[in-house]
Every structure is written in structure tokens, then in C-alpha cells.
Subunit: 337 residues, 2 copies
């Protein structure tokens, strides 16, 4: 009887074992079929899917936050990225790099162009080859790229005007130092001028000068402006090198208390001058947002996630990534980490 | 010896059993920890997470494509949605509905407002309670909503002007029938006028009349315009009821061959008149895109997916969802399916 009892127990154990094994296999299959469904419908890509960011002057700090956004989106979507670009401020070099990127047939390309027209034939070639392309930071409006993600420069100028009015208690003469031949700088200047004119009757834009994007030339322009308008109370500088140049003038002439400067972007020189109360505020662009949503848009193009059966463009035409005003209070967060 | 052999076998089976069980548990834990990682980093929500779309006049066709975009994004992100709104064109009703939605503490709310200011206190209350809010189609610019996704109406007017110039071979007198007191219609008109003035020297905007968004009043405005300007070659109507009204004038006076109409939106009356060669083109707004990207934005707010450590706004401030020109060639795709 003992032998039978052992055999019975053995049988029971075997059945249990088989039962567990069946459960295990069943569970394993259920898991993998769930995964397949996810991969088909959801926002999960493949690590072999490589999206490329292309810029000019790859070494400068300016691109770091955009690239971080691009990387963060790649992690969220489970895809891979590469960063390429010209080392110099050379449109032919950027064109060559873009040609090389296209030759590898990537899953999508996000481009910031040095020139609003020169890259168009190469951009169009990529789109015609079926490669998703979006522009970020600097657009090529006549190209076939699907979307542009960047700062609405007119609105940035409007925000600069409101901040200047706040700093000056809505009174006084102000000037602008800019790059009068570049579209984005023209827009910043116009947004600033229009807003001062329409909304602040006791303020006046008395002078607009060319700083050529250069620290020394902007410094000299500021010196001339101050000589011409001794009551000048504020200067809006539409790019960062110029902002530091105007800051130097203010330091040299000990005018920190009487002239307020608003600059653009967040390079180290600008941030240091904010800490030292030389520059009152600067406008930080949403470069992380440009990178993050560029990759999202490219992914949606690559995976055909858009309205079906209609002839609409598959993506929004323009995303204004906005600006944030940086002052002494929040300046620390903007140093590269 | 036989007894020992059976005990040994039994022991072996037990060890095997324990081994398999450990493997099973280990495997189970590995699976679930992988799942946790996905849930933490990736774009996969929870079906208990409910996002709400709120509009006015919930019954009209206009919202269907926006709601479809909202639904498509919910499917992609594995979250739930609800659609709520006022049944009438009544701002107090919309306010009450929004209050009820907020009381349920949803994961996020996308709102199209009847009035650019009246809803602000309720919108701000939602944001202050920590509920993600974006505006779509019609903005409340002074509210605390994080973003606005809609048509850049000035640019839509620019596109209408280019299409009109194409239809008229860049020559002739044109008019506009609009709602002169509503901001979005002012912008459409201005984009149209500026573009004709700047880019088409042989064209002229000779008349801008108020159609009050009403078919009959727009019909009468068109009759008056044609009487005043017998050489009128084209009319841009900035909303759909007016477009059908102007179309009626053209049919009544048998002017189909001499006056081209460009209208706005894609309701059935407009599409039928495009089929019948009465209206030459209409501008379809990217309403699917508004719904889709609204939900994406709300999800990103809810899950805290944005640049860390900076004080930037967590989302792009504005998304221009663009317009598509609908003509006889692609009109069929725009009938509700």
C-alpha cells in the first residue's frame, strides 16, 4: 500500500508540474501577443530606426538643449538618434553633411539651416525620396519640409517690450541694437517697436542701430546711441554677442543704474552679466521643446500617424516654442549642467 | 533499495518543481519590472486616466474631426476620453459644463471657448487645481491655459489671397465679406488684404462688407457689392454661412463664370457648392490635428514630460495647425464619413 501511495503522490506532483508548465507557457504567449499589439498601435518605435539632427557649427553650446530634447523624445519613443552638422559657419559644408545623411536613408531628419534658401534643393531631395523632414530653430520656408518648430520672433519682440516697460515703469526713451538684414532680427525689432508704440504712450523707440552680431561693433553702436540720446533708459539687443558688447559699454561708463539692457539667448557671457546686474533680462528660447517635438513630428510622419482619407498636411505647419524671460532670480537654472 | 530509488526520484521531481517555480517567479518579476520602466519613461498611459474635450454647440459637425483626432491620440497613448459641452451657443452653459468637468478632477481638459475672456476665471481655476489645460480652435489668450492649438488666421488669409490670385490670373477687383468685429475674421481679412496689396499690383481689394455670419445678410451684402463694383471678379468670404449666401447671389444672377468665390470651412452646403462650380475653393482647417496634438500636450503635462530644471513653459505656446485648400478636385474627401 505504501508503494501505491508514493506512486499516487508522484502522479500528483507530475500533474502539478505539467499544470504549472502549461500555465507558464500560456502566460508567456499572452505577454508576447500583448506586446505585438502595442508595437502595432502605439508610440513605440524600433531601435534600428535612426533619426538625425543636422545643424551648422556643431560645437556651440546653443544646440545642446535642442539635442537633449531630441534625445529625450528618442528615449520616450524607443528609437535611435544621430547628431551631424557642419563644424564651420559654412553653408556648403552643411549642404555636404546633409547629402551624406540622406544617402544613409534615415527614418527622419530635423534641420536647422544657416540660410533660408541655400539648402532647399537638398531638403526637397530628401522629402522626394520619402524621408520625413522638419525644420527647427531656423526655417527654410520655401522648401518641402513638413513643419517648422521655432521661436515666433515677432512675439519674442513683443515680450521684450512688455518686460522693458515693466523695468522702466512704462516711461522713457529706448533703443534697439540688431542685425537689420536678417529676417528673424527684423521681426524681433518690429514686435518690440510695435508694442512700445501701441501700448506705452510714455515710451519711445528713439534709435535702431546695426550691431552686426558682433560684440565690439555693438559696443560702439551703444556708445554712439548714448552720446546721441543722453536720456536713454533702455536697450533691447536682439542677439547675445551684441548684448555682452552693450553690457561692456554700461560697465565702462558706469551706467548700470540708469540704463536697462534686455538681451537674447542664454550663453555664459550673458548669464554672467545678469548675475552682475549689468543685463537686466534675457529671452531664453524653447530649444529643448524644438528638439523634443521635432522628433515626435518625424516619428509621426515615419509611422503614418495622421488624419487618414483627407488631403491635409500630415503635421501642423508651425509650432511656436515660445520664450522665457530670464532674470537674476532664475538665472542659475540656465547655466549648462 | 527500491524505496530509496523512489524517494530519490521524488526528490529530483521536487527539486525540478522548485527550480521551475523559482524561474517562473523570477520571470514574472522581470516582466513586471520591465513594464514599470515602460510606464515610467514611455508614452503609455492608464485607461483610468480620463481626458475631456469641452466645446460649445456639441451637436454641430464642425467638432467631429477634432474629436476624432482626440480619440486617435487617446488610443495611441492608451488613455480614456470624454466629450462634453454646451448644447447651445450660450457662454454660461459652457461655463457650467466646464465647472462640472473640473469637479471630476480629470487628467486634462482641451477647451474651445465661445468667448475669448468669459471663461478665464473657470479655466484659471482648473489650472490652479493642478489640472492640465490647453485651448484649441478658439483661444482665451489671457487665461492660464498652457498652450493654444488652432489656425493662424492671418496666414489663412494670406493663403486665400494667393489662391484668389491664381484663380484670377493675378488681375482684377476683389471684395471680402466677413465679421468685422471678431478677431479671427479681422485677421483673415487683414492677411488677405495685405497679400493682395503687397504681392499682386494688378489686383485690388475694393470693398469689405459685414455679412454677420448669416447666409441672408451675406447674400444681400454680395448683391450690394456687385451693384457697386460691376467689374468685381472675386469674393473672399471668411466663414461658411456667408459663403453659401454669396453662392446664392452668384446662382441667382448667373455670374458663375465671372465671379470666383473662396470660402472657409467644410460644411455640407459649402462642399455641395464646390461640386456645382459655384464656390471655387474653401479653406479646410486642421481640426483633426487640433484634437490629436491637444491630447498629446495634455498627456505630456499630466506625466511631467518636459525640460527639467528650467523655468520654461512646459509646452510650446502656440501650434498653427494650418489650412488646406479644398477645390473640386479633392472635395469628396471632405464629406463626413
Amino acid at each position: 500500500m505504501k508503494g501505491v501511495s508514493i506512486v499516487k503522490k508522484l502522479l500528483f506532483v507530475y500533474l502539478l508540474l505539467i499544470g504549472l508548465f502549461v500555465l507558464y507557457i500560456y502566460n508567456y504567449q499572452a505577454e508576447s501577443s500583448t506586446k505585438r499589439a502595442w508595437n502595432g498601435n502605439e508610440l513605440v518605435g524600433d531601435v534600428d530606426e535612426t533619426y538625425v539632427m543636422v545643424t551648422f557649427m556643431v560645437g556651440i553650446d546653443y544646440w545642446k538643449r535642442a539635442l537633449k530634447g531630441f534625445e529625450d523624445a528618442a528615449e520616450a519613443l524607443n528609437v535611435s538618434i544621430e547628431y551631424r552638422g557642419s563644424t564651420q559657419y559654412d553653408v556648403y559644408e552643411e549642404m555636404t553633411v546633409l547629402e551624406q545623411v540622406i544617402a544613409k536613408n534615415p527614418a527622419g531628419i530635423a534641420i536647422s539651416t544657416m540660410d533660408p534658401e541655400a539648402l532647399n534643393p537638398v531638403i526637397d531631395k530628401a522629402v522626394e525620396a520619402g524621408i520625413p523632414v522638419v525644420m527647427f530653430d531656423a526655417d527654410a520656408p520655401a522648401s518641402k519640409a513638413y513643419s517648422f518648430l521655432g521661436t515666433d520672433n515677432y512675439k519674442a519682440g513683443v515680450e521684450a517690450a512688455h518686460k522693458m516697460a515693466e523695468l522702466l515703469k512704462e516711461k522713457g526713451q529706448v533703443g534697439v541694437i540688431t542685425l537689420p538684414n536678417q529676417l528673424n532680427h527684423q521681426e524681433r525689432t518690429k514686435g518690440f517697436q510695435d508694442t512700445i508704440f501701441k501700448e506705452y504712450p510714455e515710451m519711445e523707440v528713439v534709435s535702431v542701430k546695426d550691431g552686426r552680431g558682433d560684440q565690439m561693433i555693438s559696443k560702439e553702436a551703444a556708445e554712439k546711441m548714448i552720446a546721441e540720446y543722453p536720456d536713454l533708459a533702455g536697450v533691447f539687443v536682439t542677439e547675445a554677442n551684441g548684448g555682452v558688447g552693450v553690457g561692456q559699454t554700461i560697465i565702462d561708463q558706469q551706467l548700470k543704474d540708469s540704463i536697462k539692457i534686455i538681451s537674447f539667448d542664454t550663453d555664459k557671457g550673458t548669464l554672467d552679466m545678469i548675475k552682475d546686474d549689468v543685463i537686466s533680462a534675457t529671452l531664453a528660447q524653447g530649444t529643448w521643446e524644438m528638439g523634443y517635438w521635432s522628433l515626435q513630428f518625424l516619428f509621426h510622419l515615419q509611422h503614418g500617424i495622421h488624419e487618414q482619407d483627407r488631403e491635409n498636411e500630415p503635421l501642423p505647419r508651425f509650432v511656436d516654442t515660445g520664450v522665457t524671460i530670464v532674470t537674476k532670480e532664475n538665472v542659475n537654472a540656465y547655466y549648462p549642467q
